[in-house]
């Protein structure tokens, strides 16, 4: 078993209203010094067997096809264990 993480983030040029809402809430709670917040998604995939380059390529395909929308989001795939 191995765990592969896919991080999906809104593209820098895409407005992120959720991140803006979080940014607006921080000073109200007394936290200061944060100038920007971007909110994304993290997917943890448990992979059966060893993570070969082929399996990793398949995860990339999953990220591109379903986990992210390439029109508005970027993704990054990494093996964590």
């Amino acid at each position: 078993m191995a765990r592969v993480v896919v991080d999906v983030m809104p593209k820098p040029e895409i407005l992120d209203p959720q991140g803006k809402a979080v940014l607006g809430a921080l000073p109200r709670l007394g936290f200061s010094g944060v100038t920007e917040v971007r909110q994304g998604k993290r997917f943890e995939l448990e992979i059966d067997g060893e993570v070969t380059p082929e399996r990793l390529a398949e995860v990339e395909k999953m990220a591109e096809t379903l986990l992210s929308n390439p029109v508005i989001e970027d993704f990054a795939v990494r093996v964590v264990s």
Partner: protein
Amino acid sequence: MKVGVVTFPGSLDDADARRAVRHAGHDAVALWHGDHDLKGVDAVLLPGGFSYGDYLRCGAIARFAPVMSEVVDAAKGGMPVLGICNGFQILCESHLLPGALIRNDHRKFGCLDQRLVIENNKTAWTNSYEAGQEVTIVLKNGEGSFVADEKTLDMLEAEGRVVARYVGNPNGSQRAIAGISNEAGNVVGLMPHPEHAIEDLCGPGSDGLGFFTSLS
């Protein structure tokens, strides 16, 4: 015409859409997301709502529903397909239309009678209108802000594929775009809900009926 209206788990406006289709003089055919079957319809409507709970992204799961492979094939073959609200999101996720719809810039769910200009009256769904006609129909969404890269936006403008534009901009949509079409004009995505504006009694008027009478 026989107009199919797809029901996904979480669709809300499928009954209103079928009613609007009948009001315009067509036969409404209920289609089910889980069937690989368009039941011989001549046009398809993807209604508003929250298909599959809007999990992952709006329309992202619905895109892979069994019925969608038939819808995508039919759309590519020229069948008129209209996606309203969540249906528009599904058409973008299916790559039948460019761009995407993200959360409204003001972060609130908007629900209002919205003025629009019908800019392209050559599509299968807008030919009952005059080009440049202003109409008022219902807009209700949380994720209705249309986005695409500059190149795509320029292409949509140059090819006359901006079907409807907001008067004012209620949700931060780029270039105030409310609806677009594919290159052939048979596939149209629209954020506002014409099916809620087909008669005076229960809506802002009957300006939305033209989307359904356009089919012939």
